[in-house]
C-alpha cells in the first residue's frame, strides 16, 4: 500500500489515536464486567439467568465469554486498522 510521505505524520497520529481509543473502550467494558458486576453481586444475584443466579453466572461463565470476545474483536479490529493505514507487516 502507498502510505507515501504526504500526510504521513498525520496518518500515523490518527492510527495511534484510534488504537488508544479502541484499547480504552475495550478496557472500560472489561472493567464493568469484572468489578462493577462483582461490586453489585448481592443485588444482581436476585435475578435468574439460564437457571443461575446472575452474579454467579457472570463470575463463572459470562465474564469469561466477554473477555474472549474482547480479545478476538481487538485482534480483528487492529489487523484491519493495520491494513487501512498501510502499516500491516506482510504487504
Amino acid at each position: 500500500m502507498a502510505t507515501g510521505s504526504e500526510g504521513g505524520d498525520a496518518r500515523r497520529a490518527e492510527y495511534w489515536r484510534r488504537t488508544v481509543t479502541v484499547t480504552a473502550v475495550l478496557l472500560a467494558i472489561w472493567f464493568v464486567v469484572t468489578y462493577v458486576v462483582a461490586f453489585f453481586a448481592k443485588p444482581l444475584n436476585e435475578f435468574s439467568f439460564f437457571g443461575f443466579p446472575f452474579a454467579f453466572y457472570m463470575g463463572a461463565q459470562g465474564s469469561l465469554v466477554i473477555y474472549l470476545g474482547i480479545i478476538f474483536y481487538y485482534a480483528r479490529y487492529m489487523n484491519r486498522l493495520d491494513k487501512e493505514f498501510g502499516v500491516a507487516e506482510e504487504d
Binding site: 502510505t3 507515501g4 510521505s5 504521513g8 505524520d9 500515523r12 492510527y15 495511534w16 488504537t19 488508544v20 484499547t23 475495550l26 478496557l27 472489561w30 464486567v33 469484572t34 468489578y35 462483582a38 461490586f39 453481586a41 448481592k42 444475584n45 439460564f50 437457571g51 443461575f52 443466579p53 452474579a55 454467579f56 463470575g59 463463572a60 461463565q61 465474564s63 469469561l64 473477555y67 474472549l68 474482547i70 480479545i71 478476538f72 481487538y74 485482534a75 487492529m78 489487523n79 493495520d82 498501510g86 502499516v87 500491516a88 507487516e89 506482510e90
Partner: protein, 598 residues
C-alpha cells in the same frame, strides 16, 4: 496426532486393567512414566544449537499452537488441582480466581503482547534494558523475574511432588526429584522449541484428564454430557439441600467467606499479575508476527477457558455428590472413596466425640450418632479433583489419567519458569552484562548449566517451604503485578517515562509488595525477631494480632504495590530529564507493526 495416540494409549490401559487386574499402583506408575517419557522424547527430538531456536523457538510457532502452549504454560498445578476445590469450599468467593486468571489476558492482549512481539528480542529484561537504557534496569528486571518465577516454581514442584506421592506412595522428595528430571531433559536440550511442543502435548493430556470425570458425573446426575450448561439445575438442588442442612450462606451467596474488599483486590492482583509474569509474556516473542501475537492471545484464552469454565461445574457436581452420597448416611454406608482418601489425609469423617483430637483434619468434636452431618465432614480442597473419578464410579485408569493431567499441568508450568530464569541469568546477566563477546556455544552452555543449578536450588527450597500452593502462586502474582506491569505498559503508552522513573517505580512496587507479603504472609517479624515488617494476619498462633492494612490479605499485596510503583514511576519521570529522541523513535516504532520509511 498426539491426541489420537494418547486416546489409544488410554484404551489399551483400560483394557489391560480389565483383563489383567493391574494393581492401582502399577497403573499409576505406567501413566506417570509414560507421560514423562513422552515429554522427554519431544525434548530429545527438538534439541537445538541455535540461539534463536533455543530462546524463541525460531519465531515460527503458529498462533494456535502458541496459544495452546501458553495455556499449559499458564495452567499450573493450582489451576488443575486447586481451583475446583477452592470453588467447592468457597462457592461464589472462589470465582475471584476464575475471573482473575482469565481477565488478565485482556490486559496482555491490549496492552502488552503485540508491542512486545514488535520489539522482538528474547526476554522481558531485554525490553526494559532497551526501552529505558542501561544495565541497572535490566538487572532489576532480572532479579524481579527470578524472584517471581522462583516462588511460582516452588508451587509447581510441590504440586508435582504431591501427585507423585499420593498416586505412587513414594516420598514427596523423590517425587519432586523425578518430576524435575523430566523437565530438565526437555528444556535443557531444546530450549524454547522443545518446551513449546512439550507444552502442546501437555495441554492435550491435561484437558482430556480434566474433562472426562466431570462429563461422566454430569451424565450420571443430569443426563447431559455438557456439565458447563447442565449445572444450573444442580445448583438449585444444592440450594434446597443447603437449606435442609441449615447452611447459613449457600454456594452462590457472594462475600460470605471472603469480604468484598479482599475479593476485588484478589481479582485485581491476579489480572494485573498475569500481565506481568515473565514466563507467560516471553511466549509472545515466539510467534511470527504482531498480527499472530494478537490472535495468539485469543487462542491462549480460549484454551484456558475450556478448563476454567468447567471448574465451577466440577465443584458443583462434586458438592452435589457429597451432599447426596455422604451427608446423612451412616458410617457403614459411606462410599469407598471416603475411606481411601481419608487414609491419604485429604478427607476426614469427624463423627466421633473425640474426633478433634484423634482424627487428622477434624477441628471440632462430632456428636457420635453414627451418621455423618455436614459439619462432621472435612474435605481438603485438593480432594475434589483427585477423588472425583471415584466419586463418579469410574475405573482406576481414570484416576491415573487425572494424576497424569495434574502432573502435566505442574510440569508444563515448571518448564516455562525454569527457562525464564535460566534465560534471565544466561542471556540478560551473562551475555549482556558480564561477557558481551561470548560465543553462541558458550552462551547456550551457560544457559544449560544454570538450568540444572536453578532446578537443584528450587527442589531444595520446595522441600523446606512453609506456605501452601495457592498462597505461593498468589504471592508470585502480586509481586509480578507490582514489579513489571507499570514499567511495561508505560514503556509503550507514555514516551515521557524514563530510566529514573522506571528504576524507582520497579523498586518501590516490588519492595513494597515484598515487604507486605514478608510481614503479613510469612511472619518475618517472628522469624527474624524484628519489628520492621507488618505483623502477620490473624491466626490461631497469634490471637489478637492483625498487621494487615485495611484488612487486605497477603496474597493481594499487589493492590498496594502496583499503584505505588505506577505513581512513583510517573512522579519520578516527570521530575527528571525527558527521554532522548532515540528512545522516542524506538517507542514510536513499537506502536506500528510496520513503519514505512516516510
Amino acid at each position: 496426532m498426539y491426541t489420537g495416540g494418547f486416546l489409544a494409549f488410554l484404551v489399551v490401559l483400560a483394557l489391560a486393567e480389565h483383563f489383567f487386574n493391574l494393581s492401582d499402583k502399577t497403573i499409576g506408575y505406567v501413566f506417570l512414566a509414560a507421560t514423562i517419557g513422552l515429554y522427554a522424547l519431544i525434548g530429545v527430538m527438538s534439541r537445538t544449537a541455535s540461539s534463536d531456536e533455543y530462546y524463541v523457538a525460531g519465531r515460527r510457532v503458529p498462533a494456535v499452537f502458541n496459544g495452546m502452549a501458553t495455556a499449559s504454560d499458564w495452567m499450573s498445578a493450582a489451576s488443575f488441582i486447586g481451583m475446583a476445590g477452592t470453588l467447592y469450599v468457597q462457592g461464589y468467593d472462589g470465582l475471584a480466581f476464575i475471573m482473575g486468571w482469565t481477565g488478565g489476558y485482556v490486559l496482555v492482549a491490549l496492552l502488552i503482547a503485540p508491542y512486545l512481539r514488535k520489539f522482538g528480542q528474547y526476554t522481558i529484561p531485554d525490553f526494559l534494558g532497551a526501552r529505558y537504557g542501561g544495565n541497572t534496569i535490566r538487572l532489576i528486571g532480572v532479579v524481579c523475574a527470578i524472584v517471581v518465577s522462583f516462588v511460582y516454581l516452588m508451587a509447581q514442584l510441590s504440586g508435582a511432588g504431591l501427585i507423585m506421592s499420593r498416586f505412587l506412595g513414594i516420598e514427596m522428595m523423590w517425587g519432586i526429584i523425578a518430576a524435575l528430571g523430566g523437565v530438565l531433559v526437555c528444556s535443557m536440550l531444546g530450549g524454547m522449541r522443545a518446551v513449546t511442543w512439550t507444552q502442546v502435548a501437555q495441554y492435550i493430556v491435561l484437558i482430556i484428564a480434566y474433562l472426562i470425570p466431570v462429563v461422566w458425573l454430569s451424565i450420571k446426575v443430569t443426563g447431559n454430557p455438557l456439565p458447563q450448561f447442565a449445572y444450573g439445575g444442580v445448583l438449585e438442588k444444592i440450594g434446597e439441600l443447603e437449606q435442609q442442612f441449615g447452611v447459613a450462606a449457600g454456594h452462590v451467596v457472594p462475600f460470605a467467606r471472603t469480604d468484598m474488599a479482599n475479593f476485588l483486590a484478589l481479582t485485581f492482583c491476579l489480572m494485573v499479575g498475569t500481565a506481568g509474569l515473565p514466563h507467560v509474556l516471553m511466549r509472545f516473542y515466539t510467534v511470527p508476527s504482531v498480527k499472530e501475537a494478537r490472535t495468539s492471545v485469543g487462542w491462549a484464552l480460549l484454551f484456558i477457558f475450556l478448563l476454567y469454565f468447567t471448574a465451577p461445574a466440577y465443584a458443583v457436581f462434586a458438592k452435589y455428590a457429597v451432599y447426596t452420597d455422604v451427608i446423612g448416611k451412616g458410617l457403614d454406608q459411606l462410599p469407598q472413596w471416603v475411606a481411601y482418601w481419608g487414609k491419604i489425609g485429604v478427607v476426614a469423617v469427624c463423627d466421633a466425640v473425640d474426633a478433634a483430637t484423634t482424627i487428622k483434619g477434624c477441628t471440632a468434636a462430632g456428636n457420635g450418632d453414627g451418621i455423618v452431618q455436614l459439619k462432621e465432614l472435612w474435605l481438603h480442597g485438593d480432594a475434589i479433583v483427585l477423588a472425583t473419578p471415584e466419586i463418579a464410579g469410574l475405573p482406576y485408569v481414570i484416576s491415573g489419567l487425572v494424576a497424569a493431567g495434574g502432573l502435566a499441568a505442574a510440569l508444563s508450568t515448571a518448564d516455562g519458569l525454569l527457562l525464564t530464569m535460566s534465560n534471565a541469568l544466561s542471556h540478560d546477566f551473562y551475555t549482556k552484562v558480564v561477557n558481551p563477546n561470548a560465543s553462541v556455544v558458550q552462551r547456550l552452555t551457560i544457559a544449560r548449566v544454570l538450568l540444572v543449578v536453578i532446578a537443584a536450588i528450587a527442589a531444595y527450597a520446595t522441600i523446606h517451604a512453609p506456605a501452601t500452593i495457592l498462597q505461593l502462586v498468589g504471592q508470585a502474582f502480586s509481586l509480578a503485578a507490582s514489579a513489571f506491569f507499570p514499567a511495561l505498559v508505560l514503556g509503550v503508552f507514555w514516551k515521557r517515562a524514563n530510566k529514573a522513573g522506571a528504576i524507582a517505580g520497579m523498586l518501590v512496587g516490588f519492595l513494597l509488595a515484598g515487604y507486605y507479603i514478608g510481614g503479613v504472609g510469612w511472619n518475618f517479624n517472628g522469624l527474624f525477631g524484628v519489628s520492621f515488617f507488618p505483623d502477620p494476619a490473624p491466626n490461631p498462633a497469634n490471637p489478637g494480632v492483625d498487621g494487615r492494612w485495611f484488612g487486605i490479605n497477603a496474597i493481594s499485596a499487589g493492590i498496594f504495590g502496583m499503584p505505588a510503583g505506577l505513581l512513583t514511576m510517573i512522579v519520578v519521570s516527570l521530575l527528571t530529564k525527558d527521554t532522548s529522541p532515540d528512545i522516542k523513535a524506538m517507542v514510536e516504532n513499537l506502536r506500528y507493526p510496520r513503519l514505512s520509511k516516510a
